[in-house]
């Protein structure tokens, strides 16, 4: 009788490699999704930016000619400037939504109804919102009727160069504050109540509690909201396309609209891809900061 114990069979892969493979298996769907819908379009845009592709004929390699044209293109620089104005103007919603968050984090009668009303615009389609506000901004519309009654003024919102960007920023803020309000409420609810109790015992007033407790502890949420605000604003397109098509006189022309116009209206896909690549770089730099 053989009493020797045969050594255990060595597995094909060791346990660490197996864990790694399982990890890869679970993240693979997300990676594939990113590869197809993020990396591929990004690098395709980069490739087309080196060609003069016009959607109808095969792309022809032209090297950096599109980038050279971009530097000299005054409309691109105007669109870039307008995009920054739109993004920084829309950043006001961070303050407004924080204020709303501070109000709605407390419990009071009717809170849920009011919260829902503030959130309702978030779920509306951008095109619908733009079309409704275009009617509101009509020279004979309700906004001007009210302003006329109160102040005797009736501005031309969408056809005055300095007012048109403001008009669109107002819509952007109006539609999105509900969403950021909810984020701030979640952030505020995560702050332990004991901090406020201790501060009260120590004699801190409301402003001191807000400045020394709320704001610092809300920093991660605030940073997240600011980042999302800028990303969304840099991708602004719907309101400008539906309401003004970039006018009056390019006052509301933003990068996304400029890219769309070049790519699909002028069939300059290579030129537009160059703009899109530039915007990707700008957005990436913003996020990393």
């Amino acid at each position: 009788m053989d009493n020797t114990i045969s050594p255990a069979k060595k597995p094909l892969v060791n346990i660490y490699t197996r864990h790694r493979l399982w990890g890869l298996f679970f993240v693979a769907p997300a990676l594939i999704f990113f590869a197809i819908f993020c990396f591929y379009p990004m690098f395709s845009a980069l490739y087309y930016s080196l060609t003069n592709y016009n959607l109808i004929q095969a792309p022809k390699f032209v090297g950096l000619a599109q980038y050279a044209a971009m530097i000299k293109d005054p409309r691109f620089l105007v669109a870039l400037k307008n995009t920054f104005i739109y993004a920084f103007g829309s950043a006001l919603r961070v303050i407004i939504s924080l204020a709303l968050g501070l109000v709605f984090v407390r419990d009071f009668r009717g809170r849920n109804v009011l919260r829902t009303l503030y959130f309702a615009p978030v779920v509306m389609a951008g095109v619908v919102v733009a079309m409704v506000w275009r009617v509101l901004y009509n020279p004979l519309g309700p906004i001007n009727a009210t302003l006329g009654l109160l102040f005797g003024i009736a501005p031309f919102w969408l056809t005055t160069r300095n007012l048109a960007p403001v008009a669109i920023i107002i819509i952007n803020i109006w539609q999105s504050i509900g969403f950021y309000m909810v984020l701030f409420i979640a952030g505020l609810q995560a702050i332990p109540v004991e901090f406020y109790d201790s501060a009260k015992v120590d004699g801190a007033n409301a402003w001191a509690r807000f400045w020394d407790i709320t704001l610092p502890l809300l920093k991660p949420t605030t940073l997240f909201v600011i980042a999302i605000t800028f990303i969304n604003s840099f991708q602004g397109f719907t309101y400008q396309y539906v309401m003004t098509r970039g006018g009056p006189n390019d006052a509301t022309d933003v990068i996304a609209l400029y890219v769309y116009q070049n790519a699909f209206e002028f069939q300059k896909m290579g030129y537009a891809a160059r703009d899109a690549s530039k915007e990707n770089v700008t957005l990436g730099k913003r996020c990393l900061k």
Binding site: R20, L24, L31, F34, A35, F39, Y40, M42, F43, S44, L46, Y47, Y53, N54, L55, I56, Q57, A58, P59, N138, P139, L140, N144, A145, G148, A154, F156, L158, T159, T160, R161, V242, M243, T244, R245, G247, P248, N249, D250, Q261, F264, E265, F266, Q267, M269
Partner: protein, 492 residues
């Protein structure tokens, strides 16, 4: 995450990114290929190869609807035919949104399918706005999903024509031996806009020109006679217009006449009218060989100055107000510029002006060199050159069917398909105001066909916006537009 795992993650991500780059570089977007034409049509002798802003090559002899060439011309059709394939085929046909025409299209497509049991037509309605429609069409071409045949504005087809993505018409499908004979079935000059480099590419679904619709009820309410006081010159308009204005809180609640300013709601672009005004004074958009713009000449300066004064000096209207088209339909504008299709829209949208309007010619400059209105434009039925030969043939047969009912399209959709046979029908003679449109078509050039038409028109529209929203000096705005358009024409 350990450093080793982090490094491996970066490596995997980089590999995926590199694979994407390789995919993107080595597999460029599907681009349409040119399928061989099924027939080489004869060269036309009637029209110029490329329409420019000069008079149409063949002047129509008719000045009124009734004075048309005799029926013998229309009847002299060749019996030439082309062999028809009986293989089952499904074709996709696109057209833009216009309800009155769609109803007729549905009816005739059903009849066509009943007569050709092997052919199935998939009818798709696209956006009504020309720019959006062209965007959708070119994107479809890029994705190898372009329709087999489509309705498209002639001046928008330049890029497709230059890239040989559209098939020349086969006259034999229409029962004619040559293109010349096919052309003779139409009022002279009305097919000019569908030519490119000497070949005919489309049959019109409509040929149009802008005239002025007058709301007679608003005229009478203002104490004006809609016939005697209707403006004949641009100076007349300055006199009549103040009587038609109504203000509310310092804003115009009712306008007399107003221009098209290129607003998102506009049914047409502004350049048809403005180019027409400039052409009355001898101005054109570009030179004859399309190598340089000519929009900073005196005719254009006068035209743009008139519009700028309209907005700022006289305060008769402007881009801040509701689009002229919607305003006329809802009864808040006494005069509106439009093609013949507005008549059908007034009825379908139950406008208060539906039964109280008349149509008059576009006003003229007192010292006009050319007695014309706005520039001619039209929509035509094109065939995709990248479709299979069977589908191309089926498409041209469908085009023949859809172009064989001009009386119905005129009666129910207010669209003019300018055949000589139509001109002899009672419907034609009894259609109110058709003679106004036809009179202005005589001697009027077409909007130019150019591969970069969209950019050219965009440049002029932006010049108009600078002039009417920021009061930029007209000469400066037009000099800028001229430089931009010249750069576009020279391929920069």
């Amino acid at each position: 995450m350990s450093q080793l795992a982090y490094r491996k993650f970066i490596v995997i991500t980089a590999v995926l990114a590199l694979a994407s780059l390789l995919l993107g570089s080595c597999a460029p977007a599907a681009t349409p290929t040119v399928a061989p034409a099924t027939a080489a049509p004869a060269q036309p002798t009637v029209a110029a190869a490329q329409p420019t802003a000069t008079t149409a090559a063949a002047q129509p002899t008719a000045t009124t609807a009734s004075a048309q060439p005799t029926a013998t011309t229309a009847a002299a059709q060749a019996t030439a035919t082309t062999a028809v394939s009986n293989a089952p085929v499904t074709i996709t046909f696109w057209s833009h949104d216009y309800k009155p025409r769609e109803t007729l299209d549905d009816k005739f497509i059903a009849a066509f399918e009943a007569a050709h049991l092997n052919i199935k037509v998939d009818y798709v309605i696209g956006p009504g706005n020309d720019t959006d429609y062209l965007t959708k069409l070119t994107t479809a071409y890029a994705g190898n999903a372009a329709p087999d045949c489509f309705n498209l504005r002639a001046s928008s087809a330049g890029a497709l024509l230059a890239a040989k993505q559209v098939l020349p018409l086969d006259p034999k499908v229409f029962g004619y031996a040559t293109v010349d004979e096919l052309v003779k079935a139409y009022v002279p000059g009305t097919l000019t806009g569908f030519y490119y480099k000497g070949q005919l590419f489309a049959i019109p679904t409509e040929v149009n020109i802008h005239a002025v619709y007058v709301n007679t009820a608003l005229f009478k309410a203002a104490g004006l006679d809609p016939v005697k006081d209707a403006p004949k010159t641009w100076d007349d308009l300055l006199t009549i217009n103040p009587k038609l204005l109504k203000e509310q809180n310092g804003v115009l609640a009712q306008r007399g006449f107003d221009f098209i300013y290129g607003l998102p709601d506009d049914a047409s672009g502004p350049i048809n009218t403005l180019a027409g005004m400039a052409y009355q004074l001898g101005g054109t958009i570009m030179n004859a060989d399309q190598t340089a713009a000519t929009v900073n000449t005196e005719p254009w300066i006068r035209t743009f100055q008139y519009v700028q004064d309209w907005v700022y000096k006289y305060k008769f209207g402007g881009p801040q107000y509701t689009s002229y088209y919607l305003a006329f339909i809802n009864g808040s504008e006494a005069m509106g510029i439009s093609g013949s299709f507005l008549a059908a829209d007034l009825v379908s949208q139950k406008s208060p002006a539906a039964n109280t309007y008349e149509v008059i010619q576009m006003p003229r400059w007192k010292d006009a060199t050319n007695n014309t209105g706005a520039l001619l434009y039209g929509y035509g039925l094109f065939t995709n050159a990248t479709s299979s030969p069977d589908k191309q043939q089926a498409c041209q047969m469908l085009i023949k069917e859809l172009s064989s009912h001009p009386e119905d399209y005129l009666k129910d959709a207010a669209l003019l398909q300018p055949t000589i046979a139509l001109s002899q029908t009672a419907t034609f003679k009894n259609t109110p105001y058709l003679n106004v449109f036809l009179q202005d078509m005589v001697g009027t050039p077409w909007m130019p066909v150019h591969p970069k038409y969209s950019q050219i028109i965009d440049s002029l529209t932006r010049a108009l916006q600078r002039v009417t929203t920021e009061q930029e000096p007209v000469k400066q705005a037009l000099d800028t537009a001229n430089a931009e358009i010249t750069a576009i024409l020279q391929g920069q």
